[in-house]
Amino acid sequence: MTLPLVQVEGLAKTFDVSLPWLNRVAERKPRQFVHAVDDVGFQIARGRTLALVGESGCGKSTVARLLVGLYAPTRGRVVYDGVEAGATRRPASIRRRMQMIFQDPYASLNPRWKVKDIVAEPLREHGAAGGAAAANSRDAKRSIVVRVGELLASVGLAQVDAEKFPHQFSGGQRQRISIARALATEPEFLVCDEPTSALDVSVQAQVLNIMKDLQTKRGLTYLFISHNLAVVRHVADEVGVMYLGRIVELADKATLFARPRHPYTRMLLDAIPDIHMSGRSRTPVHGEVPNPLQPPPGCTFNPRCPHANERCRIERPALLALDRVRVACHAVEERRI
C-alpha cells in the first residue's frame, strides 16, 4: 500500500469569541469558545478527490484553511507526503506543493493587478521559473511570460487575456484565473473551497470540466469543499459529511450515495431537490443546526435525529469503521438502523 499524499489526524481548531475583557468583567460573562473543527481525521490518496460536504457553519472551510496553513490548528497535525507540514510558516518546499482556490472569484484576485502579474506572483515568489537568484534576469522574465501563457491556455484563456485586469472578466473566467494561479507552482494538491458556488450552472459546468481535465492530465489530488451534494457526487471519489465541526460519515462516493448510514447524511440526501424526479416532494429535515456556541451534549445531531435515544444525548459517538464506511453514530453502531 502506498502512502497517502495527505494525512490529517485529530485536527481541531478553537476560536476565542469572548467579549472584550472589560465587558466580561462588567457583565460577569465567561470566556467563550467555538470549536469550529473538532477531532477531524482523514487521508487522501494521490490523484484522488476527497469532498467535504455540510451546511454553513459546519467547519468545512476551516478544515481547508487548516490544511494549507492559513490557520494554525489548536490540536492535531497535517502530514503531507510523509512529512509533518507544521502549523503556519511552512517551508517553501511544502507550500509550493499545495495551493488553494477560493470561493469568491471577485474577492480573491487583486483588482489593481493585471492577470499576468496575478498568475506570475507564485512563480516569482517560489522562483519556479529559473531559480530565485535569477528572477530578475531577462531570461527569467521571458520564461515567466511563456509560463503564464501556458497556464492561461491550460484553463482555456487566451494569451491576450494576460494584459487585462480582473474586472474585465466574468465570474467563470475569474475562477479560471484563480485556477491558473494555483497551478503556477505545479502543485500536486489543490484545496478548493466552494470553487463553483458563486457561479451560474452553465459556468459551473465549464469550471468543473476544466478541474476534471486538469486532474486527469496532471494527476492532481483535490480536497473539494462544497455544500452542493450533486456537485460533490460529480467530482468526488470519497466524501466526508461534516456536522458542527466533526466528520459524521466518511465513505467512498458510490457507497455513501447508494447507502447512506448516518441519519444526518440520509436527511441531507432526502432534502436535495432532484430535477429528474419532477413532482416528487422532498422530505424536509426537521429543525436547524444548533448554535455552535452551545452545542448539545452527546451526539450534536441528537435534537434533530429521529433515532436518538438516551445514550445519544449523553455520550459523543466516535467515528467507527463499519464495513468500508466510517460513521459516528450510536444507532448505526448498535444496529438499530
Binding site: 451546511e55 454553513s56 466574468s170 467563470g172 473566467q173 451560474d200 450552472v201 452553465s202 459556468v203 459551473q204 459546468a205 465549464q206 468543473l208 470540466n209 476534471k212 455544500h227 452542493n228 451534494l229 450533486a230 456537485v231 457526487r233 460529480h234 450515495f257 436527511m267 441531507l268 432526502d270 432534502a271 436535495i272 431537490p273 432532484d274 430535477i275 429528474h276 424526479m277 419532477s278 413532482g279 416528487r280 416532494s281 422532498r282 422530505t283 424536509p284 429535515v285 426537521h286 436547524e288 443546526v289
Partner: protein, 327 residues
C-alpha cells in the same frame, strides 16, 4: 380555461445609463392563472428578478418600463401612481425576497412589523390584528409564536426569518406572491422546509406564485409551468415536466445538461461555451446564436418569437419548418 390572474404583455424595461440605453427586458409576455405556480429560471443577468420587480412596481431607477402592459385581474397595474401601487402591493400581490435579513426592519419587533402590515391592508382592530399575526406565525411553523412576536429579527435564525417574511407576504391575503430567490440564501435542509411551506401555504390561501430562481431543482419540485429566460427574453415556456425532460430550446438543453445530476454518472458535464452576452452587446437575431451548437442561417439575422415546439413554446428557428426547409 380560467381568465389569467396576471398578464404580462410585451413588457420592455430599459436602463438609461451614461453609455446609452440598455434594453434589459425585451418583449416579455406570459400569464399566471389563479392558484398556479410559475417558475422563472435563468442565469444571473437574464432579467428574471427584473421581471418580478416590474410586476410588484419596485423597479429601481434608472430602470423603467418603456413598453408593454402588466395586467392584474384584468386591470393595468404598470402605470399606477406610486401611492395606488402601494395599495396593490401587499394587499393583492405579496413579495418575498432572497435575503430575509434585509427584508425585515432590524429596529422593530417581528410582531410590530406583522401587525403594521396586517392593519395597513385589512381593517382589523389591534387585538384582531395581533391574533392574526400569531396565527400567521403558527401557520409558518414558528414555535412559541406568542413569545416570538416580541422578538427582533436578529434573534431569529435564517430559516426562521424567511418564515417571518413568508408570513408578512401572506398578511394581506394576496392572490399572487412574487418570490424572488426565496431559498437561495438558505442551507439545503432548511431550503426543503421553506419550499414545502411555501407550496402548502399558497395552496391553502389560494395564492398564485411567481417563483424566480436559478435552481432547476427547486423549480422541478414546486412549479406547474416554467419560463426560461436568456438575455432579457423568454426563450422557452411550458409545463415543468416537458421543459425538464424534453427541452426544445438549445439553451434549455444546455442548461439542463450542465446541472450535475444525483441519479446518473457522467464523466463530463455538458457545457455551453462562452457566457451570456452583456446588455450592451446583445447579438443580432437570436441572442443565443454565438453559443448555439445548432445555429443556422436565419439565427444570426432574424429574431425568433416564441413558437410551438412539442409540448412547450420555444423561441428558436429550429422549430419553424419553413425556416429549416429554406436553409
Amino acid at each position: 380555461m380560467p381568465s389569467p390572474l396576471l398578464e404580462v404583455d410585451h413588457l420592455r424595461v430599459e436602463f438609461l445609463g451614461r453609455s446609452g440605453r440598455l434594453l434589459a427586458l425585451d418583449d416579455v409576455s406570459f400569464s399566471i392563472a389563479p392558484g398556479e405556480i410559475l417558475g422563472v429560471v435563468g442565469e444571473s443577468g437574464a432579467g428574471k428578478s427584473l421581471t418580478g420587480a416590474s410586476i410588484i412596481g419596485l423597479l429601481d431607477p434608472p430602470g423603467r418600463i418603456v413598453g408593454g402592459e402588466i395586467r392584474f385581474d384584468g386591470a393595468r397595474i404598470d402605470n399606477l401612481p406610486y401611492e395606488q401601487m402601494r395599495k396593490v402591493r401587499g394587499r393583492h400581490i405579496g413579495a418575498i425576497f432572497q435575503d430575509p435579513l434585509t427584508s425585515l426592519d432590524p429596529l422593530y419587533t417581528v410582531g410590530q412589523q406583522l401587525i403594521e402590515t396586517i392593519q395597513t391592508h385589512l381593517s382589523l382592530g389591534a387585538a384582531d390584528a395581533r391574533r392574526r399575526a400569531v396565527r400567521l406565525l403558527q401557520e409558518t411553523g414558528i414555535p412559541a409564536a406568542e413569545e416570538r412576536l416580541e422578538q427582533y429579527p436578529h434573534q431569529f435564525s435564517g430559516g426562521m426569518r424567511q418564515r417571518v417574511v413568508i408570513a408578512l407576504a401572506l398578511a394581506g391575503e394576496p392572490r399572487l406572491i412574487v418570490a424572488d430567490e426565496p431559498t437561495t440564501a438558505l442551507d439545503v435542509s432548511i431550503q426543503a422546509q421553506i419550499i414545502s411551506l411555501l407550496k402548502r401555504l399558497c395552496k391553502e390561501h389560494g395564492a398564485a406564485v411567481m417563483l424566480v430562481t436559478h435552481d432547476m431543482g427547486v423549480i422541478a419540485e414546486t412549479c406547474d409551468r416554467v419560463a426560461v429566460m436568456y438575455a432579457g427574453r423568454i426563450v422557452e415556456i411550458g409545463p415543468v415536466a416537458s421543459v425538464i425532460h424534453a427541452p426544445a430550446h438549445p439553451y434549455t438543453v444546455g442548461l439542463m445538461g450542465s446541472i450535475p445530476a444525483m441519479d446518473e454518472d457522467r464523466a463530463r458535464l455538458l457545457q455551453i461555451d462562452g457566457a451570456m452576452p452583456r446588455l450592451d452587446a446583445i447579438p443580432s437575431g437570436c441572442a443565443f446564436n454565438p453559443r448555439c451548437p445548432h445555429a443556422f442561417e436565419p439565427c444570426t439575422t432574424l429574431r425568433p418569437e416564441l413558437m410551438a415546439a412539442g409540448a412547450t413554446r420555444a423561441a428558436c428557428w429550429l422549430h419553424a419548418p419553413a425556416m429549416r426547409a429554406a436553409a
